[in-house]
């Protein structure tokens, strides 16, 4: 099945209602969404493998809680793209505003441009590949999953990080509390190569990246560490 939904002619409510309805949008279908014009909550809560192409810039929470769809945004996205995604893929050809992939539990988020502050905040298993830079406090309280940044990272990267793995090619302005640089072993190079490949990056060697993660010093409260906060 293939269809186009024009948001000049219908509403976000109608769009989501159709895409969330299995009989209206059975698995395997391809959908084009036109004239998005910054609408919020576009293509949220889809729990099937649909292929969705969004033509234009979106507002907040595009592809929120995605659970299986492959969504491409030909443009930039507002705050909280793919928040709490659990499966599927979201690909943004432009830039992403704050909190991209926030609290994501699974799936892959690829941002061709830059991502603003708090990219990957509270991530819980999602993989995120940003081809440009990420803003400050990215991977804040990141629990699990992987964040790959081909550009630079802003201040306080990985603040209060748990078990997420961070790979950055460019400069890191500063590391947050309990985030440290870690050695790149073979297993890390292997997983990084897989992530880059999944994001369509074929011309960047894994050796160009440095790995960051948790020092695990704040996992148990100790008064002598209070100054770290």
């Amino acid at each position: 099945m293939s269809a186009t939904i024009d948001l000049k002619k219908t509403t976000t409510r109608d769009l989501n209602s159709r895409l969330q309805n299995e009989s209206a949008a059975p698995a395997g279908g391809t959908w084009q969404i036109a004239n998005v014009r910054g609408h919020h909550s576009v293509a949220v809560g889809i729990d099937r493998p649909l292929t969705i192409e969004i033509d234009g810039n979106t507002g907040y929470f595009c592809a929120g809680m995605n659970h299986g769809a492959e969504i491409t945004v030909k443009g930039s996205v507002g705050q909280g793209v793919a928040e709490t995604m659990s499966a599927g893929k979201v690909h943004v050809t432009g830039d992403a505003s704050m909190a991209a992939g926030a609290s994501g539990r699974g799936g892959l988020l690829v941002i061709d441009g830059n991502a603003a502050a708090r990219c990957g905040i509270s991530m819980k298993g999602i993989d995120i590949v940003v081809k440009g830079d990420v803003g400050h406090l990215s991977a804040f309280m990141a629990q699990t999953g992987r964040l790959v940044v081909l550009g630079d990272a802003g201040e306080a990267l990985g603040d209060s990080i748990y078990e997420a793995r961070l790979y950055v090619r460019g400069a890191v302005a500063s590391l947050g509390a309990d985030c440290v640089e870690k050695p790149m072993n073979d297993e890390h190079k292997e997983e990084l190569a897989e992530l880059l490949s999944a994001a369509g990056v074929t011309d960047v060697p894994v050796e160009a990246f440095r790995r960051y993660g948790s020092a695990r010093k704040l996992y148990h409260f100790n008064i002598d560490n209070a100054g770290a906060y």
């Binding site: 949220v44 809560g45 507002g59 907040y60 709490t84 609290s103 819980k124 298993g125 996992y219 148990h220």
Partner: protein, 445 residues
């Protein structure tokens, strides 16, 4: 002849303890000096606060007609979420069970809460740990909390919830995040939260993907889009600035507002936070109702009040002040068996006593409620505990009805501030009802 007193007692004064440096303050200074860490505990504010005991009902007399107790109807049902939700929640009684997490509570305790609430015709609420089968399976109506941590949050559970409660804050700690210490992070709890087992877990105080009420309006719209506009969206706020917070919650598009006063409990937080942040429940209701009235939204956006509700009088007083329902947490745990004097020997072994036990974060609860230890949690029979909770909820309802009938009201919702009188100047000011025997309402909102 000597002027010396004939008894030794004349020579010295009675030892006098300081009202400022009382036994508790001194013991806390010593504890802090010995450990180097602040005190963490569960529960809500324990100190004396102006509360519902400082109000009394003005029963019917010459100018008001009472209803016959046990004979004339006094309805108790309430519908929550009538503003936007396609499927509002219908409850038989206006007393709901507040959010308490699996993790802070045992699976058995969550099941018991579900069983008791369902028997009584009301709802339960998840907490900062996701939705468990025990809870969903035994709760006819389940409110799914949407917290800053988003632990366990997923589309499937969101859609099988009956309502969604966005937690901005709670009365025990407005402005604070969650805390669950390593002793309670079992393998199952860790898996549900995507965290390593056994670590001290401190969850966020701010939501990861929105800041401020302009963002929240968009977030609420997203949640509605995710759930086909079916679910009522609650917004839970710790009582600190109830007038403005309520107004902003209405502006953000909430269906239901939950205001939690400083007596409201927590699983674990710093003592200094519990006792020194927020305002009493009594003081939070009228400003919240005033905000709703000023916006023309009273009874259209429903108001749930929580924090220190103990009996049917408290329920009736909240409703007379303008609430649509109340929510209980600590009282529900007591009904399940928390702090049972029958377990005194166990409490003594923990260095405390029944009625004072609040180290819920340590996971050693002899009643099997605030623990993840399989041996301890198996002590709680969820069926019997659920029955006790249902009994207690029924008593709350009967007591509230008794008071409403005495005021001539055929529905709990018909109670009004005019039915109340205050016994203290503080209560008169906070509840905005006259001091008993006067027409004086101190202060103005």
């Amino acid at each position: 002849m000597s002027n010396a007193p004939r008894h030794d007692g004349w020579m010295r004064t009675t030892p006098r303890k300081s009202a400022t440096f009382d036994d508790y303050a001194i013991s806390e200074i010593r504890r802090a000096a010995a450990t180097g860490i602040y005190d963490i505990r569960g529960g809500g504010a324990k100190r004396r606060l102006p509360n519902f005991d400082d109000l009394t009902f003005l029963g019917a007399s010459m100018s008001r007609y009472p209803l016959e107790g046990y004979r004339e109807k006094c309805s108790t049902n309430v519908t929550l979420g009538t503003r936007f939700a396609k499927k509002p929640i219908e409850l038989d009684i206006p007393v709901t069970i507040a959010g308490m997490s699996f993790g802070s509570l045992s699976g058995q305790a969550k099941e018991a809460l579900g069983r008791g609430a369902t028997l009584a015709g009301t709802s339960t609420t998840t907490g900062d740990g996701g939705m468990t089968p025990e809870e969903r399976g035994h709760s006819d109506k389940l409110v799914y909390q949407y917290l800053p941590s988003r632990y366990g949050m997923n589309l499937h559970d969101l859609r099988r919830a009956d309502a969604i409660e966005i937690v901005v804050g709670q009365g025990a700690k407005p402005g604070g995040g969650g805390m669950l210490l390593g002793q309670k992070i079992s393998a199952r709890v860790a898996r549900m939260r995507d965290l390593p087992e056994g670590i001290d877990q401190r969850s966020a105080c701010r939501h990861p993907d929105w800041t401020g009420c302009d963002d929240l309006e968009i977030k609420i719209e997203e949640l509605r889009e995710l759930t086909n506009w079916e679910k009522p969206i609650y917004l839970k706020i710790g009582a600190s600035r109830p007038y403005y917070d309520t107004a902003l919650a209405v502006k953000s598009g909430a269906d239901v507002i939950v205001i939690d006063g400083m007596q409201g409990g927590t699983a674990a937080t710093q003592e200094v936070f519990i006792e020194h942040v927020g305002i009493p429940t009594l003081a939070a209701i009228r400003p919240a109702v005033q905000a709703l009235q000023d916006l023309g939204m009273h009874r259209k956006v429903q108001l749930i009040v929580s924090g220190g509700i103990r009996n049917g009088a408290d329920v009736a007083k909240c409703m007379a002040l303008g609430a649509d329902a109340v929510s209980i947490g600590t009282a529900a745990l007591i009904a399940l068996g928390d702090n049972d004097p029958a377990l005194e020997a166990d409490y003594q072994a923990l260095g405390t006593t029944a009625g004072a036990y609040d180290d819920w974060h340590e996971g050693l609860d002899p009643a099997g409620i605030t623990t993840q230890d399989p041996a301890l949690s198996s002590r709680l029979d969820p069926i019997a505990a659920g029955r006790r909770l249902a009994n207690y909820l029924k008593v709350l309802t009967l007591e509230a009805q008794t008071l409403a009938r005495a005021c001539g009201k055929s529905a709990l919702h018909n109670l009004e501030p005019e039915d109340l009188s205050a016994l203290t100047i503080e209560a008169a000011a906070m509840a905005q009802v006259p001091l008993a025997g006067t027409r004086w309402i101190p202060g103005a909102i």
